[in-house]
């Protein structure tokens, strides 16, 4: 499991929604394999005392009151200021290409 092939990279690029060239498949296969070999050292660390991974940040859930924020408070954003950033929009709706029936890229 410590070696990534060009086909592995092709599969990962599909999962990652990244269109790559043949040259990139080869280059990333070499580079990611070396990283994966490096991280294999973790198997030598004794973690038998650790229960399944728990949060390590020391923080607990934070609940906010369910109230409408006043206009002008921080992070109060006009919907159109966000929608206008999209390359295609129709009024207050962001336009996308057909979700069903389109081609499903090379897997």
């Amino acid at each position: 499991m410590n070696e990534l092939s060009r086909d592995d990279i092709r599969h990962l690029s599909h999962l990652s929604r990244l269109e790559l060239t043949d040259e990139e498949y080869a280059r990333y296969a070499t580079q990611l394999s070396s990283v994966v070999q490096y991280v294999a050292q973790l198997q030598s660390v004794d973690t038998s005392s650790v229960q399944a991974h728990l949060g390590v940040t020391g923080l607990t859930n934070v609940l906010a009151d369910d109230v409408v924020r006043e206009k002008g408070t921080p992070a109060d954003i006009e919907p159109m200021d966000v929608i206008n950033k999209a390359p295609r929009h129709h009024g207050r709706l962001i336009e996308v290409r057909a979700v069903l029936g389109g081609e499903v890229g090379a897997a």
Partner: protein, 501 residues
Amino acid sequence: MSVKTYVNKPLNELTIEETAKGLAEAVFTSREITEVCLEHIERHDGEINSFVTITADLARSQADASDARRASGKTLGILDGVPYNLKDVFATDDSPTTASSHMLEGWVAPYNATTYRNLRDAGAVLLGKTNTDEFTMGTSSETSYFGVSRNPWNPEHVAGGSSGGPAASIAAHMSIFSIGTDTGGSIRLPAAFCGVTGLKPTYGRVSRFGEIAMASSLDQTGPITKTVRDTAIVLEVLAGNDPLDATSSSEVVPVYSKELGDIKGLRIGVPKEFFGEGVRPELETVVRTAIADLEKAGATVVEVSLPAAIHSLAAYYIIAPAEVSSNMSRYDGIRYGYSVEREESKENHTLYDIYAKSRAHGLGSEVKRRIMLGNHVLSSGYYDAYYTKAEQVRAVVREEFENIFKTENIDVLMAPISPNIAFKVGEKINDPLAMYKEDVLTVPVNISGTPGMSVPCGIVDDLPVGLQIIGPRFGEIAVLRAGAAFQSITNHHLQKANLLS
């Protein structure tokens, strides 16, 4: 305008404390020091490329507003009128924020980061946004879409990364202070490479609202300054709970700048693993001399051991890419940022093409590597071997750090920041793993969630070396006190980069 001086320095070379004093004594105005900084950037930034965006008009209006407040006796505090810059990852609604990526070139956020609001409310004057590795992924600022930031001590060498622009801008005195972010060493490493002071606070100490995310369980915002005392001043303004960031802590914020007493009784732990294989001998000598200087000044030094901590980098290169692959999925070519939909040619793309082509053209190589690595380690069949194991190692490292301060009864740990001084531009760019290994001594601090600071402690081959000071979680006072004491007994932080001499 003729260059004014104060305490025998050009205005752009002042510390925050000196600037505040000069403004209070009406020796110069905020507008004057702002113009001096802008002129210095205009004249010299071409040599180091520390700025991505210069907000001259905004800076002038903020400076004039500060001067008007001062004239009517309504000054907001010590940062009022002090010029600074932000790493190019803080959302502001009055200037572009790009994360130094083609993906966000020209993008202006519809809201402000809490860090920007805090600094604006304190009266500080924004000069612009400074360069970073693309989406903060890198150790040299060479992955920036807008070109590498060069080291003001020697422009053939990197400034470090990812906060290379912020660190270089302070070493070259283009601002009085800067704000960076640190996920695996991105404040401390460039601060060390450029010979300035940089603090990564405890995870959760500073709000990340409006900071473009890289790896959300690790990212933290912090100051890059000319002195430790200035770092304490800026941290006071940045730290605290923010209702807009559920991971920000409600731990009480001390008045850090009033806690910088002497170091009598300070106990320093020196983790032997941090001086191991790979650390350049001349650099080790400089760091050990710095620790000995503190011992002579009254601190006690004990050798300690952190055997799991050295595996932090391996855990980091699973946890960070896993979170990157998730955080970067928002750049989809649909909502904002670069999209093939904006291109002239009206090809009949499918939805899949919009995603895959926009991300392929909009993102650089390092970002793509980490997205794919993240998707690999999270794949079914690999998840337990990689991700679960890495999280377990993180728990072990975190416990190791928590215990060491108690069992050894120490206040801080001290170690080098990096195994080497700043390397040459281009030297490591084709070998990602070699680049990653530069962070081997800074990443344990992110993995353990503790605060860590770099202070300049000497020179090797005409380039600066950083001393790393690490405290327990929310133990910034001990870190700042040790750093301020070091700067009161040594002059390393006063050495000037060659660009200016």
